[in-house]
Symmetry: C2
């Protein structure tokens, strides 16, 4: 990460983790301690907390300094993201053994516990927002936020994107299919991270729409760079096996546009994202820094 966004992370990471920890801590004396342990294992594993940090950065655009108010949303975003990782890693899905440097949930516990831990986190995200947000924001806006996050997480968003990823596309497909896939699978939750503070702070219809477009833009920028790194980086730098997309005949920006075309696409998304930020009447340095980080990352 570059310096200003890293500073945001340094300032807030411990608070986010402490908040998440508090949100999942019960005092069971029966078998539910296992479920809680599985949830804790996955939710508190070392993650970058990109979505909560984006949410805090967006909150600072609309209500500078009022970070605590948006923490229920930041936490809900991480809960949804984590549940999707737990279920994605299951044998019937990606069948992964490691995640965030630790054994995946079904490896550390078992499949049934992992399925239930994911289910519990999905539900907890909405329970937590419904319980904690009304102290800070008008009730109608809290409901709008729950609706927005649920659409982003569910069939119209992330879950729909996972189906598209499994069954929906091949390297012969077109740019529309590619962008639909990514705007759903990873983009919807990244977009929600930026948009939810704008809804809750009554930013106005034009600002909310701008946040949506900016969120989509950085979601796609993340993905183009991912596709470029897959063909141009090595395993030591990348931390995972390169050329995986080509081997799996996946639809990527590189398969569609070629490496040079993909690089041009990344540059234009980067420029567009910065232009959008420049038109906000607020201090957007942190988000601009995040855009640069996405653009320049090597892994």
């Amino acid at each position: 990460m570059t310096s200003i966004f890293k500073h945001l992370s340094d300032v807030h990471l411990d608070a986010i983790n402490a908040y998440l920890n508090a949100a999942i801590t019960h005092h069971y004396t029966d078998a539910r301690v296992t479920l809680e342990a599985a949830i804790r294992h996955s939710l508190l594993a070392p993650g970058k907390r990109v979505r909560p940090l984006l949410c805090i950065a967006s909150q600072n655009l609309f209500s500078p300094g009022e970070v605590l108010k948006i923490m229920p949303v930041a936490a809900a975003l991480e809960m949804i993201h984590t549940y999707s990782l737990i279920h994605d890693d299951l044998p019937a899905m990606d069948n992964d053994d490691f995640r965030r440097g630790l054994p995946t949930c079904h490896k550390a516990f078992d499949e049934a516990t992992a399925i239930l831990a994911g289910d519990a986190l999905n539900t907890l995200a909405f329970q937590h927002m419904a319980q904690e947000l009304p102290a800070h924001f008008p009730a109608d806006l809290c409901l709008q936020s729950i609706n927005y996050l649920a659409k982003a997480a569910g069939e119209p968003g992330m879950v729909g994107g996972q189906i598209l990823d499994i069954y929906g596309s091949s390297s012969q497909d077109n740019i529309h299919a590619l962008e639909t896939l990514h705007l759903c699978k990873t983009g919807a939750l990244i977009r929600a991270s930026i948009v939810l503070p704008s809804i809750l702070n009554k930013a106005g219809i034009r600002s909310i729409a701008k946040c949506e477009y900016f969120g989509d833009t950085i979601g796609l920028l993340f993905q183009v760079i991912d596709d470029i790194l897959d063909v141009s980086s090595d395993k030591a730098t990348l931390g995972k096996t390169p050329n995986k997309d080509i081997e799996q005949n996946k639809l990527t920006y590189v398969s569609l546009l070629g490496l040079e075309g993909a690089k041009q696409k990344a540059q234009s998304l980067h420029d567009e994202a910065l232009d959008l930020l420049a038109s906000f009447e607020a201090d957007t340095d942190v988000l601009a820094d995040f855009v640069s980080y996405l653009f320049k990352r090597k892994a």
Copy 2:
């Protein structure tokens, strides 16, 4: 079902199914049609819709005739119930091939699709309530309802009960463990079916508490009868293999109290439920009829 509750079912079943159908219908032209088909397969399979009907019966206590207003809650309850069936049936959980007379979701589709269909329904329940309820009820009460349903569905309720069922008890355990298990696993959602209309119609703290206690009572009554039928019925009547609980060394009312003790427990829960209903200042005939149905059922 006995006659008055069956009448409620006859009147509302088609409307519930049509409402559920509308709530899950999109117009995708890509692989998401498969996800929608899997959701439709499970959600619209022939079910008794007990939770939506209980919710409608409860709504009629507080706002007689205003059934349409509560349909988003009735639908959300069935979505949560169905997602839990889909995930429960997975190979890593109960590994069932048939449900509601049809192949289970992972048999009709595949495991990955079934996991995602369950996830989508879990999320959709809250999205639907957040989107549809505010037209009919005050926003703060809508938030309270989402919070209440999410607690009933999540770790403190249904999902916690599933963990207790898998890992938490043996036939040597005590009545406290048994009742905690059932009040979580099936009771929490049945209780929510009764309680949510009381919250949304501002029934008052005493009425809401009475609904909670009544909901718990019928949830346990359902379970005692289930345990009694397991040892006293035959396969033809029961529609499933009897004596399964004993073979699996499960903690049941019969294993704890003996058959006669369990029958006395059922009688006392039945009487208590009817006494509670008699103290409502409303027409409780439908719910009283449902209590009799639970008590007298043979399968």
